[in-house]
Subunit: 210 residues, 2 copies
């Protein structure tokens, strides 16, 4: 169900999937079907990457396997454990740090994990699911728990499932999940000719966009 | 126009936008409207980021401003200049390297540029446009050309526009743009319990997905 407070207040027209994607703190207990899980990671699989390296690997734990879920939860920083334990599925996104074709460092590895994660998020949105990525994890703990080899490193964790109804949340989570999504204005993000000079077309002087 | 060779050969159902996104080498000369440019960067603007830092900034150059276009083209490595000069629009994606709220290094900065770029790519797909991100740039040259301050760094360049008809391309670009898109199988990407152990649900033993 769409949380209308979370629809982006856009200044210019964007695709519905992008406008309605958001990252909840509160998740419903409802499990995610295996078919949907396959679609989520299939979407990540088809993201773009430098040299088509596909530096992304995922380790996934579902709540129905309670011991595995707790193992993965323990790889998050405490502040994230507090809310992420509500999610029915957790995943670690692990980056391959070197290129396969020449074994040199891949300067795009983290960037490309971000691309794959965004693709997964938007697929989730299409399925009525939500994903909350976290940089706040314990990479060394993840390495030990899952025998992640040198040359790879856990970068983020993903909490995924169905966003909870606001009424089902305690005050802290509810306040987070009912807050309006805020962004810097486009004029502070898109420049031309030199740093901090807003591109002229950003201002839409013609009223061309609606 | 959809290049059917570039539709992902998916193993599991994914959203049409994600299946049809691809990164061309060959671009058509047709310019991109200002309204579409606004939508592209608006889509980037609404991506998720750690602490909602929104560490992305973009500097944009259009071919109709020939001197500016050449200035930006010179910030790419030579191999990328060769094909990217066909695109009607170039952009540099610049990362803010520290958090605004505490001035500490933002370990998600590059990852979050990737999230914003994926969002922009999928918005482009929705508009019939294509985006090709490149990590092969000259960050120091970009810093000098655009007075990018310390604390920020150019991470990627984006070539964007309409993908060229294959018949309009020379053999080298045509071969790249007509090649089938390849990805590792999902079984090599999604693990459970330990490294390299494929999650059981990835294999789809029930034939639940089609």
């Amino acid at each position: 169900m769409m949380n209308e407070a979370k629809r982006a207040r856009t200044s210019h027209s964007i695709h519905e999937l992008i406008a309605t994607r958001w990252s909840p703190y509160g998740f419903d207990a409802r499990p995610v079907s295996e078919s949907d899980l396959r679609s989520l990671f299939e979407a990540a699989r088809w993201a773009a990457s430098s040299y088509n390296e596909q530096p992304w690997r995922f380790i996934v734990a579902r709540k129905k396997d309670a011991a595995e879920f707790e193992r993965m939860l323990a790889c998050l920083v405490e502040g994230n454990q507090a809310w992420a334990r509500r999610a029915p599925v957790l995943a670690l996104a692990v980056a391959r740090l070197h290129f396969s074709h020449n074994d040199k460092p891949n300067p795009a590895a983290q960037h490309d994990i971000g691309m794959a994660t965004c693709s997964l998020q938007l697929q989730a949105t299409a399925l009525g699911l939500s994903v909350h990525p976290m940089i706040g994890i314990l990479p060394q703990r993840a390495r030990e728990e899952y025998t992640i080899p040198q040359g790879y490193e856990a970068l983020t964790a993903l909490a995924l499932g169905y966003a909870a109804e606001l009424d089902a949340l305690d005050d802290t989570l509810r306040r987070r999940d009912e807050a309006v999504r805020l962004r810097k204005p486009l004029s502070e993000l898109v420049f031309a000719r030199t740093w901090k000079r807003t591109a002229a077309w950003v201002e839409d002087p013609t009223g061309e966009s609606s």
